[in-house]
Point group: C2
Amino acid sequence: MKLNDLINQNCEWLKGTGPNSNIVISSRVRLARNLRYIPFAHRANKKQKEDLLKKIKEAVDTTNYTKGALFLSLADLSNLDKQFLIERHLISKEHALHSDSKAVIISDQEILSIMVNEEDHLRIQIMQSGFNLDEAWRIGSQIDEEFGKKLEYAFSQEWGYLTACPTNAGTGLRASVMLHLPALVVTKQINKVLQAITKLSLTARGFYGEGTEASGNFFQISNQVTLGHSEEDILDNIERIIKQILGHEQNARQALFEQEGAIIKDRIWRAYATLQNAHIISSRESVDLLSSVRLGIDIGLLKGLDIKTINRIFILIQPAHLQKLEGKALSAQERDVKRAEMIRRELGGK
Amino acid sequence: MKLNDLINQNCEWLKGTGPNSNIVISSRVRLARNLRYIPFAHRANKKQKEDLLKKIKEAVDTTNYTKGALFLSLADLSNLDKQFLIERHLISKEHALHSDSKAVIISDQEILSIMVNEEDHLRIQIMQSGFNLDEAWRIGSQIDEEFGKKLEYAFSQEWGYLTACPTNAGTGLRASVMLHLPALVVTKQINKVLQAITKLSLTARGFYGEGTEASGNFFQISNQVTLGHSEEDILDNIERIIKQILGHEQNARQALFEQEGAIIKDRIWRAYATLQNAHIISSRESVDLLSSVRLGIDIGLLKGLDIKTINRIFILIQPAHLQKLEGKALSAQERDVKRAEMIRRELGGK
């Protein structure tokens, strides 16, 4: 597998399957790990970081799950390729910034990705389609265990896993779920929900990652506290709260459709028609319209169209993806035209 | 023919045919006439107005062109029917206000309509599709001549035809042309054009008549001066100016499509798709979108769709028309739903 193959492969978290996939796009588990006797990445020198890279490569090559995975040295990648990996949620913006002695490992279907020498030595990410933190955790802890046998983790009996930033110490676990909450947004209940989850030690971000606003009614919800609770407790807590949010969204969708069926229908059909017919479209507008179409599929209004196609478009509308598809650099204006073209093609428009 | 048949008949001015029909919707000639020895309508008593009505009826029944025309006494009509006639440009708002001793005569295909006891005793209107003031004037002057043999017009050698308001005296002629000028609007040349025509003794109004703003890029342009020039001079003047405007609009369309083809294409396809898929739509939005679709037909982008259908929808989106179609009174909200339904049906949408 090569980097350029990623754009055409069916990656796990865009499958549109799994529990509650009408509301939950994907579930993600991330583990922060560091190696003993090697300084944290921001304190390590080049040699130390290169040594670390070698160790990780060995571990990856000898571990069943990661054997044969794509191993990319960030120094070898163009800016476009790095942007492309960011857009696929495979690396962070920070990871792309200074590429020296950094790498990313990507498994088949992008279920697993590991950033090496980001803030921590290892950032292990497991993605699953739908509401499936359990499976993500199962895979993650298995890989973690195997790696633990080969790499000596920095671990303290008192503090747990040691991390570059204390907010990640303890379990090093961040669990997050990407939700599509159009009905809570339109009925203006979303702010109450977001306020409530903050009190419950969770945090919400936008679809396109840290520092981005929630757009198109997509919210990525994750735990803030990693220390002082077991992994199981952290997962239980977020799962319990997400289940409540799912219930609220489901009720809001039903009430909305009963009380304002015509308005919803109007919005969904207009959105679908616009996506099928636009010749110039911004990513912001695309996200908003795709959100309506996603709702239309869920409530059975748009038949013969699957969530997977919509998820695929969500990823492809991004700048680096459009440029990879076209095989050349595109200005913002050119992207708006190519984006519309791609969406029409994907949705069988004119 | 009955009033209720009008809604389904192919009326002349919506045919979408005739010269320059890509820019000119319709041409209209209106003659103001009064009868000698009978006070102007606002000074006449009931008996005098009823006598007048009788005289007019006799003239209509014995004139070739008007024989068999629909003769409607406004007192017999419901408010909805009167609104319906206003929307079809067959009577004025003023004519509908106080219905006593008022009538309207409507010929086949609505080419001719005559208001009796509006501001003047007779307001004779002839409509033609496209840019065809000559034909409208030919028909109008013929009817005028025949009526003149049977009815003694109030006419002064010095002032010409006498009218209730001096601004109509002389010829009593108002010629107007309904233009669709999207390219002049979008390229912001329209204000210069409108300022220029005002200096040339013409005036511009909106699609839906006097006192309405120009909307959806439609402008009704007519002469202001009726006195001191012959009918031929008045018609020559407006025709000459309209031809210039047509040239400007044509050039602007071409330049626009060459320079901003993608933007125009985007707007046209979105408009068409929205009309085919909306489930709630205001008349204002409909007019704007229909304007884009009309342009799309002219530049050959939207194939298999004719101007006649678009013109038909222009008329049907109005409140009284929607209520006549449904056969019952509708609230504004209900109309927005029924309007969307009708447009989808007309355009073969979902």
